[in-house]
Symmetry: C2
Subunit: 385 residues, 2 copies
């Protein structure tokens, strides 16, 4: 496969976009990416989306969005792996361009979650878990994560407040991202006193849903090298790995084996280890997921994710800054779009275009998008080309 680069990026602020349809959100992100890349055409479009069928009564987003943005006729399709659908769009675009099949492709992640009732949206989210073994009992997605967190606290002796730094860091960073859903910092008191959602997960452990879209344009690296574009970003690693959907069916429900495998793959492809990663755009859907991802990707020992956070190593000045633009917790988690927001944010950091959220000297980034409670994990390493 030939090497591929990300030429342009675009995003819309995560929020409650009651004045925009799903196709308009996707279009706005795509138009921004086209402008950023200074191109006006692509040969294929890959859409990451999880729940438009359930919430919008609309499948078939590939053709729909292509037509909306003026590309009627091009190859288009939707890719889906629950909450990791976004990163799948990038990976599918990368393979299409890398294979030589097309010379330019657009990856867009889009989700519209706030036009429906919380009950409908919660039910749609639960479809990421096993309908036959989990959903059938009425457990919600946050409920499943609460079981994992409770067990984790029991096994490793952590208290609830030990997870506070994940939330504080994300919200502190979200302040610096104009596209974040929440742009105000929180305190330890706010964290401690937040309302309980599913014990032990309180409101400050859980990422908010939202409407959003983020896009990237992928081209062959050779084609754009030396063309005077902004800092070129190379996709140096890309990997998908899976695990059982039902959490009870895993050998160790406190270990994200798919995250470990997927991270190991991309480290190998990029020829780096966790020590070379400058920032990590993490899938902090819940604070427990942030802890487990840090461990699976080699940044903390088993059961020691919270220690890394308590020691300040996940902040912009720490050893491995995570959620540098707010993460899922503060930027928001429009599920099928989230993986593309992570990619767009990593590109902003690599280009030095992250504004007040900029981390100095970012050369190698890791993004990791998680579907279900770790059942599909997609990792990418992006580097300055």
């Amino acid at each position: 496969m030939r090497e591929v680069a990300i030429l342009g990026i675009g995003q819309v602020p995560v929020g409650e976009h009651w004045d925009k349809r799903l196709v308009e959100l996707a279009g706005d992100a795509i138009f921004a990416a086209l402008e950023d890349a200074e191109v006006n055409r692509v040969e294929a479009l890959y859409v990451g989306n999880m729940m438009a069928g359930q919430l919008d009564k609309q499948t078939h987003l590939g053709a729909l969005i292509s037509d909306w943005v003026g590309f009627r006729g091009i190859e288009a399709m939707t890719v889906e792996a629950a909450c990791s659908s976004g990163a799948l769009a990038l990976r599918t675009a990368m393979i299409a361009v890398g294979s030589g099949l097309v010379s330019s492709a657009l990856a867009v992640g889009v989700e519209k979650m706030t036009d429906t009732s919380p009950r409908e949206t919660t039910a749609a989210l639960a479809s990421a878990a096993s309908a036959d073994w989990e959903g059938v009992h009425g457990i919600t997605f946050v409920g499943l994560n609460a079981l994992i967190m409770r067990r984790y606290m029991h096994e490793y002796g952590w208290k609830h407040q030990d997870f506070a730094p994940f939330s504080l860091n994300a919200h502190a960073n979200g302040v610096n991202n104009p596209n974040a859903r929440f742009q105000s910092p929180i305190t330890e008191d706010i964290y401690r006193q937040a309302v309980m959602v599913a014990d032990p997960i309180n409101l400050m452990d859980a990422s908010p849903i939202g409407d959003g879209a983020a896009a990237a344009i992928v081209v062959p690296l050779d084609l754009v090298k030396g063309m005077g574009h902004k800092t070129l970003v190379k996709i140096a690693g890309s990997s998908v790995a899976t695990d059982s959907l039902a959490v009870h069916d895993r050998q160790d429900p406190l270990w994200l084996s798919a995250a470990e495998k997927s991270a190991r793959d991309v480290y190998h492809q990029a020829g780096v280890g966790p020590e070379e990663i400058d920032i990590f755009e993490i899938h902090d859907a819940f604070s427990i997921m942030a802890a487990l991802s840090l461990e699976a990707c080699g940044f903390a020992d088993r059961g020691q994710g919270p220690r890394l956070a308590l020691e300040g190593e996940i902040t912009p000045k720490g050893r491995i800054p995570i959620a540098t633009m707010g993460g899922l917790k503060a930027r928001g988690h429009p599920v099928g779009a989230t993986g593309m927001y992570q990619v767009v944010e990593a590109v902003q950091q690599l280009r030095g275009e992250a504004g007040r959220a900029q981390i100095d000297g970012v050369k190698v980034t890791l993004t990791q998008n998680i579907g279900g409670s770790g059942a599909t994990v997609i990792s990418h390493i992006l580097t300055a080309a």
Copy 2:
């Protein structure tokens, strides 16, 4: 891209499988494909499915099915473009293998449509059309096709009975396919007297829904050449093209421009024209769609699809046999699986394994899977390698 071959195929009979969950249907087709290919492992799984989120409250089929068939951990995802999701699975597998990314991939199309009420299933089908401009008015998918058929009859002067040969041919061929949902022939009287569904589409113009799954294993052609397998089948052409979802938004609602583009692409890739195609597995979701596809793919002049049928040229002894194993009309149309059934049937014909449905001397086949009323069209040319 390196050349790729289909090494194994598997399918389950289309029907009302009330005793099998979706994952079991997919698994049965996959196990059959693995046995046929004489392999016990693949590196990636691509699932074509349209409506599991809506009807089963289950997204995330990639990881779910991988785990079920014993491949926990491998790369997996769902691809979707409404009723053309099945063929997308083959195309995605082809690109993954062709690019060198993986050395073997499984494509499976699966759909479960009969466990829910007709009202729910009909609503899910309508999500293939434009929710904002068509679905919102309450029009069903068959209703949209009825508008197209009525206009077609008006423009070109055809009577309803002129479409009878499409249905008669499909049902006559379905008799010879043990996996077909309907295995009994129909007469002109049955066609004429069938109950009206949406004027002018009667029950014998419309394909039946169903539960089903079909799978294929894709590998590099070089790897298996000369290994003594059954007739090797090469993917000689593959193309996706799109059009507007809303039918009223097309320049000519009686012309499938995406089918034309997609067919032109695969003819070019395979170095053939319509005259070299031995059989055409057509997307005869409705008899009008069969007519329009024949025209768009160059087998009939504009407005003259029914003439080809009336002259007997679409039968097994005709110039271009279509729906050789029953097509959507008699084999059945489990939407996300249909594209893979077409591929599996083409492979059966190329191998000489089509039993009583066998057409003599099949060397070059065209399969075409249509999403919506022509908004996504995926064509493949398979040949004996």
